[in-house]
């Protein structure tokens, strides 16, 4: 079996770097009325995670505690 790469991932990385610099220079307020958004299911899951997640240290090790 040969290993073949059919996509130019290095170019994708360069694109991502480029778009990062573009977006980082756009003021946040410019997106205030944008309707582009992840699905509400995703947003609600994140909000729920924020409420349920509690970090804990057990035996000097950080562990995650999710309280449902």
């Amino acid at each position: 079996m040969n290993k073949k790469i059919t996509q130019d991932y290095s170019a994708f990385e360069e694109d991502a770097n480029y778009w990062f610099s573009v977006f980082d220079n756009i003021p946040d307020i410019a997106f205030a009325k944008q309707e582009v958004s992840p699905g509400s299911f995703i947003v609600n899951k994140i909000k729920a995670f924020a409420r349920a997640y509690q970090p804990m240290v057990v035996l000097d090790k950080e562990v995650d505690l999710i309280i449902n």
Binding site: K3, I46, F49, N68
Partner: protein, 197 residues
């Protein structure tokens, strides 16, 4: 609403770290369009962009709650940097995955109608069935719907589902079993045929 308009990102971050969960809601609502637009611009796939968006904010929440956030710039830039790193990680992971090639074989394994594009009619049937399945999934109880979405829409393993929902693997498997039984029942009740050609 008033809070949403008045408080700065820095103040909302401090409030969230201090235990006010509502503050992160405002931060997410305030910045979701910018962060998500950036991710979509890079990866150009809605589902993948949603996965990266979710993972980025999970990391944000973990970092904030663990007290590791150092207030050294714009909040949106920090979240975008996390999303950016996830995008780069995704590209590098894809790059390192092996791709099967049949160059060394006379018979072309992939030259089969099985792998050809669907006809318009087949595509319409598929779209219809997927739409009906999605509608039925929405009728499931929350814990069953969650497992189905994680397994079939987000492609998580049962181990990952168990970890994310904080239940045992057996419970996750049980929920999936009941979800499938309920989906069959719901489809029968509504006379919906879920057969694809």
């Amino acid at each position: 609403m008033e809070k949403q308009l008045v408080l700065s990102d820095e103040q909302l971050v401090k409030d969230f770290v201090a235990g006010d969960s509502g503050s992160i809601d405002i931060l997410i609502e305030r910045h979701k369009a910018k962060i998500f637009s950036y991710i979509v611009m890079c990866v150009k796939q809605q589902e993948l962009a949603e996965d990266i968006f979710q993972e980025a904010f999970i990391r944000v929440i973990r970092t904030l709650k663990n007290g590791r956030y150092s207030d050294s710039g714009k909040f949106s830039s920090w979240v975008m940097r996390i999303a950016h790193n996830l995008i780069i990680d995704y590209y590098r992971k894809q790059k390192n995955q092996s791709v099967i090639s049949n160059d060394n074989y006379e018979y072309d394994l992939f030259n089969s109608t099985q792998f050809s594009d669907k006809s318009v009619e087949e595509q319409m049937v598929t779209d219809q069935v997927l739409s009906e399945v999605s509608m039925l999934v929405n009728l499931l109880p929350d814990n069953q719907r969650e497992v189905v979405v994680m397994r079939h829409y987000r492609d998580l393993s049962f181990k990952e589902i168990a970890e994310e929902t904080n239940v045992s693997i057996n419970t996750a498997l049980g929920r999936m079993r009941y979800a499938l039984m309920n989906l069959r029942r719901l489809a029968e009740e509504r006379n919906i045929s879920l057969t694809m050609s």
